[in-house]
């Protein structure tokens, strides 16, 4: 019967530990906020609203890629345009991608500075 109790205690600890982890990481670390930069006054807003960009930027980039490569539509804002405002990969892209444990393969080909001096905010 004692062994049973130990098994139950271990199992309950394992099962409840993520709650403790979540609570602790909530208290100890802040969730990353997008680091917005606007170096040039001509960029008033992003090309889409914030909500769309937060969840669907990857979708947008894929669409642009397909239109560029397959249909030759070349006058659109693509990955290169992002760094007009969001100059640093470290400050902008990686903050969220690291948090959700995501490895993107964009930068194997596309040049995007890892770090860049911060511009006006």
């Amino acid at each position: 019967m004692k062994a049973n109790k130990i098994v139950v205690a271990v199992m309950v600890l394992i099962i409840l530990s993520p709650i403790a982890f979540s609570a602790a990481s909530r208290l100890l670390t802040e969730s990353p906020k997008p680091f917005l930069e606007r170096p040039d006054a001509k960029y008033e807003n992003c090309i889409r609203d914030t909500e769309y960009m937060r969840f669907h930027h990857m979708d947008y980039l894929k669409e642009v890629r397909e239109e560029y490569v397959r249909y030759g539509i070349r006058d659109q804002e693509g990955l290169n345009s992002c760094k007009e405002c969001h100059a640093s990969r470290e400050r902008f892209c990686n903050r969220c991608h690291n948090t959700v444990d995501l490895n993107v393969d964009c930068f194997g080909c596309h040049y995007y500075p890892e770090t860049a001096p911060a511009t006006s905010n």
Binding site: N4, K5, V8, P32, F55, D59, V100
Partner: protein, 405 residues
């Protein structure tokens, strides 16, 4: 009861054997119970049976006489964990363990609301219907997504997101669809349990005339303690593998349930980092717990199937009812892992197909809960609570006493 009254007055009793019930019991794996000559070895060897009105001897007599009412209104059938010590030692090969399993199966069907679903779930010929219903409902939900979003005023970008499932099955639809049908299943289950509890309180063994041994609250607590600790289950000596494999499936599925509830409430849960609820990274504590739980549950299911196929003597007779449940459980986890793997491999549309099949099995598991062997969670808990409530104690096995000391 009528018969009890007559016997206590010393009057002769006329018993009409319920032949239909006897035939039905035979079909569900209790083939050999007519061999029983009431020696009582089974009750003596059982480590779980109480000292008074011990089982499974009396159940064997009732089964032979086809006394269905007595069997299904009896908490003892659920106090048995089918260790099969009795079946092993039965001098007549009457296999009392299998008889009680068959009675439990009949009991689930007896209390099921609506009745016809209880019948469908216990027959293989209804598999196409039983899996067709979830597939149809899920398909309809997917088709009705856009009109429903228009009516409800839910807007989200419907373009082709790179690696997600939400264009097909957004979280609002997933949560409300499964929430709604789980609620229906839960209500049907509650109706069955309420009927069983009422009958136990009026006719159940150990009820007697006296006051309850424990208040309901403490009875529930000690029953749950015993369930989590597998206290009674691990008393088994012949079929020890049953309890160990059950531990894996039990805690594995609890882990999966906790993760599921956490994810469903994620958007509103202040303990989760609210900006990034989905997706969880592979090394997120929640993902780790889900993968561990799934592995444990799948391992337990495979072990159970292996025991049933390879050690038939110890595991007891396996019926369609047993396999349908353990295979559904296993397939829920297996299709979940297949979906996860295809998701990581970015296989489109394979991962969508796998996810759909996964959801069909999850849906089947939930919606048929009150009619399948899954219902044992509730009926067994009810019986164990009643045993605590009425003060029915686990006895000391007479035949094992010598071995223990």
């Amino acid at each position: 009861m009528e018969i009890a009254e007559q016997t206590s007055q010393g009057k002769p009793v006329w018993i009409e054997p319920d032949l239909d019930f006897i035939r039905a019991l035979r079909k569900r794996g209790g083939e050999s119970f007519k061999q029983c000559f009431q020696c009582g070895t089974c009750s003596a060897t059982c480590g779980l049976s109480p000292d008074t009105e011990a089982f499974p001897r009396k159940e064997m007599a009732w089964a032979a006489w086809g006394m269905k009412e007595r069997l299904v209104t009896n908490p003892d059938i659920w106090l048995c964990h089918q260790c099969n010590d009795c079946s092993l030692r039965c001098p007549r090969g009457a296999r009392p363990g299998d008889v009680l399993a068959a009675v439990r199966q009949m009991s689930v069907a007896h209390y099921s609301v609506p009745r016809f679903l209880g019948r469908w779930v216990s027959q293989p010929k209804f598999i196409p219907v039983l899996l067709g219903i979830p597939a149809l409902l899920l398909g309809l939900a997917i088709l009705a997504r856009e009109p429903m979003e228009a009516v409800l005023g839910i807007s989200h970008y419907t373009s082709d997101i790179v690696y997600s499932y939400s264009p097909w099955f957004p979280h609002w639809l997933l949560n409300s669809f499964f929430g709604f049908f789980s609620l229906i299943a839960f209500l049907a289950m509650s109706a069955g349990v309420a009927r069983y509890w009422r009958i136990l309180k009026t006719t159940g063994i150990g009820n007697g005339a006296g006051p309850p041994a424990k208040a309901l609250g403490p009875a529930v607590v000690s029953a749950l303690k015993s369930i989590f600790g597998h206290d009674r289950f691990t008393q088994c000596t012949t079929a020890t593998a049953r309890s160990f494999s059950h531990v894996f499936v039990f805690f594995g599925f609890i882990a999966l349930t906790v993760v599921t509830l956490w994810v469903i409430t994620g958007r509103y849960n202040p303990l989760i980092q609210t900006d990034f609820v989905y997706p969880f990274g592979f090394w997120s504590p929640w993902k780790i717990l889900a993968n561990l739980g799934g592995t444990a549950a799948l391992f337990g299911c495979v072990w159970m199937v292996w025991e049933r196929l390879e050690r038939r003597e110890k595991a007891g007779i396996s019926t369609y009812f047993d396999f349908a449940f353990v295979l559904t459980l296993g397939l829920v986890v297996f299709t979940g892992f297949v979906t996860e793997g295809m998701h990581y491999l970015r296989l489109v549309p394979h991962r969508h197909v796998a996810y759909f099949i996964h959801l069909v099995f999850v849906f089947a598991l939930l919606i048929y809960l009150p009619y399948s062997k899954f219902a044992h969670i509730f009926y067994r808990t009810t019986a164990m609570v009643f045993a605590e409530y009425s003060g029915r104690k686990m006895g000391d096995p007479v035949l094992n006493r010598g071995e223990r000391e």
